[in-house]
Symmetry: D2
Subunit: 286 residues, 4 copies
């Protein structure tokens, strides 16, 4: 991704001849200097996906002008589309429970300037990491979740998220299952890290399941949250080799490194508008 | 593994103090020069596993003498054990259907001297690879399998295997499900390569399943065949990265490379007596 | 890559606004259905690279017509460019010495239909693999190389390559250093597999070097041959984990699997016109 | 590694018959329950390496008693040896410059209880990370290094290290070359993370070197520091795939993830007494 200010156009539409020509003609007409351009034709579904990064300074229109001028083309081809401006930092709300490795890792990346986002707040069902979060200058909300108050708790989470005008919610080992309503309301905006190589070992205690089955690799999966637990579109996955000498605590420890890396990578793809979904599959323009 | 002639002792038994001392004392007494020694204490199951490679020339007894002398120790600790002599090449029977990449790969390794075994015969339910096999100087048996003749066909396979005095049967993409009887009779002696990262995508058409689920890595699993399909103890696994641009034929093609490598590696571990099983898990002394 | 007949346009040129627009407009005008499209803007060198796959049946011109019609655009932007027709199979000449694993692997892929090329001949400085090659129905040339006859031997190789109207020469563990002249005359058309992770361990006996240095991973590199030994543009690389228990023969054995895979992958990229070079670096449109 | 208190015996000596018997007999005699046992016979150098983990509660002697009782055996075989008690936490001093990712990662692992050590202090040639370190409750020393004060600065570092009675010094992207004296005085106790796959790209700016050479994988190496820059015994290495679209800042970013993981893994091996060196090579009992 270019370090200079840029617009990122992403779109998908039914495939047909002339899409690239129409879009690139549009960009060239307005003097748009393309720094990165990716597209994918899904033959099976006859659908076309595209992502264009354009230097903002080179383009003759501002963001609104871009949208207005592009709308007729989008209509013509029946596009799902959006344009992002890198000058507007994305806003990320992190949810965590009692394991801090993913939270810590995201905060470290943010503090080191690797993750260029706003983090308006961190929400947790435990008060454990208040100090860590507040030391980073970030607001911490303790929203307990009990069997009786689930509805209320999730309403509170949703309210905090909306109030923060956040773009994406990251479940950084948040050990609660969100309500179906919430999954639907924020579809494509909630990212989870699951500690197994999905679809293997979905549900609870995946490292225990992996140990019992005697697999020789363990993994982690970063995916969008949908109503069906651990079934959402996969953004990224990775694995690490283990062997018979590794106990369950060893798997947990190895797994943490994979979880951190895969979550950070998947989140980055999302933040840079590299992920387009279609049904339950993703196109990730690396 | 030492290139010189050696004995390989493998054993497992309930864990207790003094096992290593007893075994190593026994080996030292007979002047056994240990070139490789591995052991593993499974805390959860309180079971101990061991593998010792001893230079045959250094040891004062021959194979029979070794066994006789070791038997009392084995009895004392309640060991499951065996001793192999590297001078006796293992005998491998390969089963194949209509995809040759694994067969070809095994034959190439054998011809190049990498795989030091006897291959008394190759058995197939199709006649397709007769020439390939026979050019290598190996007997080819065509044993057709139809819905009506399954029992007879498997009896024929078992007969050929027994007649060949073979040690291990390799299902090199043999697209038939063996009978429960056969799985039981040859437990721990039939090795299969499944074209997915088990337990994900067991059963048929795993690459299609992987494509539909939208995973970002595909894999292969080498395992012992048991009565339950794709549920046997796993010897080795590996994966390769894919992305949205890969069609199902691409997955099939990438997968072949993983299948070949994982099968060859798993088979090698088995042939070198590196694999010990306990329940549905394996100890693999790499 | 599409399985249907297609044209593949590859080009590079100084970067400027309007390249994508001009090319895609050209393709759309002639009704070209794009199945795969990749491009890359090299900011450091201000150079633009592109690869387009177009369904041949959809395009209104034949290959000659394509070239004629595209030439003015190419001139305008100062492009290095070419168009390939998938109906014309590429012709591959393989050179080998006394280690057959890469040769065997390529033949197996070719026989299984994975590698859709013509193999007019295999050339070797030893007669060892004549039978293997001829069994596959391929001509085998024995061209001995001695300290005294190098010039003559390489002239003979070049002659056989030209006579075969071959597109690419694959050094499949060919243990001779080609002459500078030959490297220059066939620049970008000779692919080598080096058995180390370059630039580490260039030159002879890389596995020995790796063992002495005590590295924890070994690798292989597929690259174009240039006058400077092991310094040509890298197409692909991979590594495998080793540890202290692995002897030099073990490294050699593990390495073979990496060499086979990396060579096959790099060759495939080349054959599908996915590799564009600029100076000593490659753009590989996977 | 067992979570219960244990003794770890590590040794190496010229190889001969009877070493394992002598050691295991010794352990059994004192009722030592072995939870992990590894050994390696280096055929080339005729040297034997061993590591034994014994439950402290099972063993009839305390640490001193262990040492006294074992000394005669060690003498007999000419062993280099040591015994560690897991109840005595190792003491780690971290050195850092202006890039915090490795420091942050180590602190996070320490805070989460994954890294069970004492960190008496962090030393830096810059004051940048004082707050971060002090928030963790760890002493921070700012020891500036200028061309004129090098000797004095390193003397100060050595003094702080000694004063802290530290076991190991970790150069977590410490961008200063230590003096030859210091490397010698603390041989085997200083661990560095180098941001390349050594021996490729030793010295400065390895990511720039990697970019210029056009490699397809980048890596990191954790090694002991010796007088010769980047030439010390390698503990661990890893790589990550890159491609033409990755700029130097991208390589730097990907590289950080590898550096963190490899350093944490290498340090862990060291802390658990899993690393034995012989000349410039390491035996790492994973």
């Amino acid at each position: 991704m270019s370090l200079k200010r840029h617009f990122t156009l992403t779109l998908s539409c039914p495939d047909q001849i002339g899409i690239v020509a129409a879009v690139s003609d549009f960009l060239a007409k307005h003097h748009g200097w393309i720094t990165e351009s990716s597209n994918h034709a899904d033959e099976e579904n006859q659908r076309f996906f595209m992502r264009q990064e354009i230097l903002a300074d080179s383009f003759q229109l501002d963001l609104c002008g871009f949208c207005d001028a592009f709308a007729p083309i989008a209509r013509r081809f029946g596009m799902d589309w959006r344009v992002a401006d890198s000058a507007q930092k994305k806003r990320v709300v992190i949810l965590v429970s009692k394991l801090e490795h993913c939270l810590y890792d995201l905060l470290a990346r943010w503090k080191a300037g690797e993750l260029e986002v706003e983090i308006p707040c961190v929400i947790s069902n435990h008060d454990t990491f208040r100090d860590l979060v507040e030391w980073h200058g970030i607001t911490f909300h303790h929203v307990p979740v009990t069997p009786d108050n689930k509805a209320g708790a999730y309403a509170r989470v949703a309210h905090l998220f909306d109030e923060a005008r956040a773009d994406v919610m990251v479940l950084a080992r948040y050990m609660q299952v969100l309500s179906p309503d919430m999954c639907r309301d924020y579809a494509g905006r909630i990212i989870n890290i699951h500690h197994s190589f999905l679809p293997a070992f979905s549900g609870g205690k995946p490292y225990h399941q992996a140990y019992q089955r005697g697999v020789k690799l363990i993994g982690a999966t970063c995916h969008y949250v949908t109503e069906e637990l651990d079934e959402g579109p996969i953004i990224d996955q990775d694995v690490i080799r283990i062997d018979h000498s590794d106990s369950i605590p060893d798997l947990v420890r190895y797994g943490r490194d994979i979880e951190k890396t895969v979550l950070a990578r998947g989140l980055r793809y999302h933040l840079e508008d590299r992920v387009l979904t279609h049904g339950n599959r993703t196109v990730v323009f690396r």
